[in-house]
Subunit: 529 residues, 2 copies
Amino acid sequence: MSTCHGLQILGASTSAELDDTYTGIDPRDGSELPGAFHEASDAEIDRAVSAAYQAFDAFRTTTAEQRATLLDTIADTAMAAGDELLQRASAETGHPIERCAAERGRAVSQARLFAEMVREGSWVDARIDHAEPTRQPLPKPDVRSMQLAIGPIAVFGASNFPIAISVLGADTISAFAAGCPVIVKGHPAHPGTCEIAAEIIRTAIAKCDLPADIFSLIHGRSHRVGAELVKHPQLAAAAFTGSLKGGRALFDIANSRPQPIPLYAEMGSVNPIFILPGAMTERSAQIAQGYIDSLTMGVGQFCTNPGMVLGLGEAAGWKDFRESAAELVRQHEPQTMLHCGIHYAYQEGIHRLQHSSGLRQVSRSSREPDETASEAACYLFETTADGLRHNPELYDEVFGPVSTLVNCSSPADLEEFAEQLEGSLTASIHGTEEDLRAHAGLVRILEKKAGRLIFNGYPVGLEICHSIHHGGPYPATCHSHFTSIGTRCINRFVRPVCYQDWPDSALPPELQESNPLGITRIVNGKSSQ
Amino acid sequence: MSTCHGLQILGASTSAELDDTYTGIDPRDGSELPGAFHEASDAEIDRAVSAAYQAFDAFRTTTAEQRATLLDTIADTAMAAGDELLQRASAETGHPIERCAAERGRAVSQARLFAEMVREGSWVDARIDHAEPTRQPLPKPDVRSMQLAIGPIAVFGASNFPIAISVLGADTISAFAAGCPVIVKGHPAHPGTCEIAAEIIRTAIAKCDLPADIFSLIHGRSHRVGAELVKHPQLAAAAFTGSLKGGRALFDIANSRPQPIPLYAEMGSVNPIFILPGAMTERSAQIAQGYIDSLTMGVGQFCTNPGMVLGLGEAAGWKDFRESAAELVRQHEPQTMLHCGIHYAYQEGIHRLQHSSGLRQVSRSSREPDETASEAACYLFETTADGLRHNPELYDEVFGPVSTLVNCSSPADLEEFAEQLEGSLTASIHGTEEDLRAHAGLVRILEKKAGRLIFNGYPVGLEICHSIHHGGPYPATCHSHFTSIGTRCINRFVRPVCYQDWPDSALPPELQESNPLGITRIVNGKSSQ
């Protein structure tokens, strides 16, 4: 494996002011990977953001075609860069190489989808209201508005998607699509992957003749680095994917600034699955299979991992379902978690569940996990409506392949627990259409609790498209209006700007009367092309 | 004038648990107006929000037609209610009755515009991506999403628009349009106007057979009432129009909740006007007239009041402009401010400016203001580029009819000061098209600083339409992505919800395959009707 330089990447230059370094670790054996990564100094953080702000005007006033070309070039460069990225990501996370290749494919197709959207151009929500100079009692001015880029964006990638939700993820790509420079704070669990991905972006920016300063990568294990970045007065927003604790800490810092900025945090959630009686009768074993597959995929390290299944214990099929799920868990092979910190937190979480008075362990992976390889066994617990009622801490997410069956005694129980749920990225319902009609009240509650409602499916796996929403009420995210995946996520990095009685020639092309870009706009309240 | 009951309006009931009361005051003579208004107790605040939450599902699942009818009925009821509302608003603010009538007209046409938008229906941003069950390596699910209402909204109206930006304002109307219940915290400077407006809404809700609990009005002078309201766990968001200090305090409370919620604050701003050389040469006297009209309208008590004019002192016309403006200010008749608190703050602000080393007073209203009638004289100050450079506090807004001319020596000065500006609701440029081309750099800066850019016009006066944006970077607002006026302001009270593989019959009509409402949607990435 090639060595990484470990330096801050500050636009076209590199820097290492501090001697404080750390290395990547292979979680499969705890070995140190090549390359020493330098903690960013406060001065380096300032240089990254200041340079991004200086480059902002040049970047935001590029044409849509220029930005689309940048996104396509990032995709091309990532594919052309060979397997170094995949190998490093695999070594730093324990993910099989195929998973890393799939992640790269996801990042690349995501970049191309944004390129397509930027070229098409209607995403800017252009609106025009024509003047009426003779209106009484006052003339009506000509008013036009569209979304414009807001400024430099800090990106904190996720530990669990070192390629698809990190340097090359939707945060960076959507910020670039909008015309915002990006400063990535590299995840300390995959610093080498971050560096290789950053070099891909740097190469693409140079190929496109865009200002190098629109992108920087800084490293840091300490909270100081992230905090200093979010405090920088020229930063316009930050996007974070990770734990509730980390996200909330950054959210609080962002809000406490003299000039607050949005901190978009996607922090995972419980992702409950409700199984209604019709579905349970029809296909309990099949649902058990889908559920345990979803639970164990990626060693349970997805933010949409199903942490809780709620059903009616007296419904036909519940016992079979429980037995099938228990057996699948027993058969499940322990696998290596992302890093020893996550593994440790998982073990703590399991210990807490094992000692909770409201819970009973149903089964666990038969094979003993290899602790030195940070392996996690899969666990299945169960409780009753009363157990859950008296142990509200069971709603808290444990990150990893563990889930709880909740044996409810009535549809009223289901609704009661749905109402108790905190905000969740997803909620799934298994049922027949008849079930759905009979439990309309449950659906009404879940619409208030989750960002994505899934019917007869499983939460893990997220289609990247225009209609997807990966968000939800707190604590799933800090700003439930926004998604972190899918094309709508560009909305995080733009704000409306309105031009009143502005000369046509001085307007952005999106707002010029002749509609030179041919985009869909709202003209005098009506959709128009 | 009829007496007000002064009670909290909690859905269909009224309540007065506390004996602590206050009255409306006529600022023209300091006299107490009829009616004693009771501070809301914590229990009353809780009842208002809890009842709103209970009514939320019934309200959010009404049809678009039902909500549009509610908005039209509010408009009809406000017009049918006669002049009591106008008389009370005039007495509580010192506004002439014609101004109050114009405000009611504004509120009524705003309600009708939202009704039209809700009936048309495309505002929900419906998006559909069709399934591809045979896609390799994984099938593509059917994914659909749209904006849904988020829950009970607290509304804190503005002191300066007792009808148009208070109980009957865009916050209440857009929340109702989305399907969100509303709890208004009445402004203590116009409690009677709030009560009369609230009774109009209560009547309209009853006429439409909707749940009474979707609307409450609570009174309070103390910070406790607003703070308790924003802290309530079932509140989903709050909208505020007022001072920076008040808005920031509520913003901090909203962010510090265990489950943070958005606090949309519109807090006013400096609203600079830049006069470029071509315009100054062509029509200095005309610009001076428009500027002083804009400055003195409503006794300078508009959040878009122009607090600063920047131009090139050596440009032909600057001296004439300065002289014309100075003379218009001298001729300006002092008028009564909204209430004695605002009047006092204005006098303090003037005192501060008069003693600032960087400023010189150019002129003021010749007639001495009547202090007992809370009258404000108009003031004009001037400074130079250096004066502004060394007195950054001059950028701070003073609420009232005072403005500062900044005599700059070069286009570079103009750009330097534009870059120093904090976020502003508006920025205006007077110029020829040639000026605009020559000062493209200035425009690029102002696009980053303001929500609305005005060419050859004045900031006061806000067209209520689809394209208007009344917002801007902090401190103009706390969330620059959102507007508080214009149809886009509904976005504050909704969030996307996504349905995956959901049966067509169980989807909201906006997302059903046959598009029964005939709205514009994005289907597989393309706009479709």
